[in-house]
Symmetry: C2
Subunit: 194 residues, 2 copies
């Protein structure tokens, strides 16, 4: 696999593409839409990307990398289990609903649009993210904050959080941190102590 050069222009294009892919879905976003949103002609896109799928791969890659950064930063200096769990929840919701959210959302909903080859390349990033979560959940289980099996719990929890992209609008009263607190409460049957 050749490593595509990370020019500034390319990054710009990827950001714009993320927005469109999120809004319209990958399939319904045409190269002409991408081009006009960027201010260039459709043919010029293929100077930066070999095909349309490579744009999607770049978007998802960026989304996953940011998620990993955020969760690491969020949970870095926290020792207490309950605070770590809350920070992970909050971090995840932030990458989905905060600034620059588009890429992570796309990485979730457009996974099926990837070819097998592209998936195998990106799956390492996804695994890395899930491993971090797995660790936090195992800690929380030991501390009796949660009930069940770590593996299934991770899927239940991340599923629930990911699903928020279907309904949560930060501007409708509840903000992201409040949502995180509510989720933490329903999950652990305890109130988080901030």
């Amino acid at each position: 696999m050749t490593i595509p050069k990370q020019t500034n222009r390319r990054k710009e294009l990827v950001t714009i593409a993320a927005g469109l892919f999120k809004q319209e879905s990958f399939d319904r976003t045409t190269v002409r839409m991408l081009a006009s949103a960027t201010g260039i002609k459709s043919g010029s896109l293929f100077h930066h990307f070999k095909d349309k799928e490579e744009i999607l791969v770049a978007v998802i890659e960026g989304g996953l990398e940011t998620s990993i950064e955020v969760i690491n930063k969020q949970t870095a200096d926290i020792e207490q289990v309950d605070q770590r769990l809350f920070a992970a929840i909050y971090g995840h919701l932030m990458t989905l609903h905060g600034e620059n959210k588009d890429a992570h959302i796309v990485s979730i909903i457009e996974w099926k649009s990837l070819s097998t080859l592209s998936k195998s390349h990106l799956i390492r990033l996804r695994d890395e993210y899930e491993t971090i979560w797995q660790g936090i959940i195992e800690q929380a289980l030991e501390a009796k904050l949660l009930e069940g099996e770590a593996h299934l719990l991770r899927l239940f929890v991340l599923g629930s959080l990911n699903w928020t992209i279907q309904w949560f609008k930060p501007e409708q009263g509840l903000d992201i941190e409040q949502l995180a607190a509510k989720f933490y409460q329903s999950l652990t049957h305890q109130v988080i102590n901030k």
Copy 2:
């Protein structure tokens, strides 16, 4: 809105369409694929449906109706709150992973592919389903089985369950009832008593 006649052939087509939409997504399923899977020519499809979207609407409509039937039947004769909650979870997972699952899955993942008009028609069915859930969750809250707000809990729970379509394969050891029990346990911090 004219009511489309419910011929047998139409139902057949809808079932086949559900399978393809689930496997390939609505956008990537062409009318030619639908036709050849049914054994007719692509043009003949439009004798039964006025356009491609009407097929999707029919699929989703069927999926939602079945879900409503199933949850009603599952929870009908059950009085105990814990049993009702478990039955609802189990029922939901059954419509997603049991026999004839395709339609309900499509109704979940292809919601965004609908036009505004079609959505407004189908939203009543979805509301009906969610109202049933809402009631069960409120009961469970009163019984202290759950923690939090009913409205948010419903979204968390259904999100988590819906997300199982991304990873759960009944043939990989765990069956649907076991999955339901595990989920019930992680949600309520109690073991279900069957």
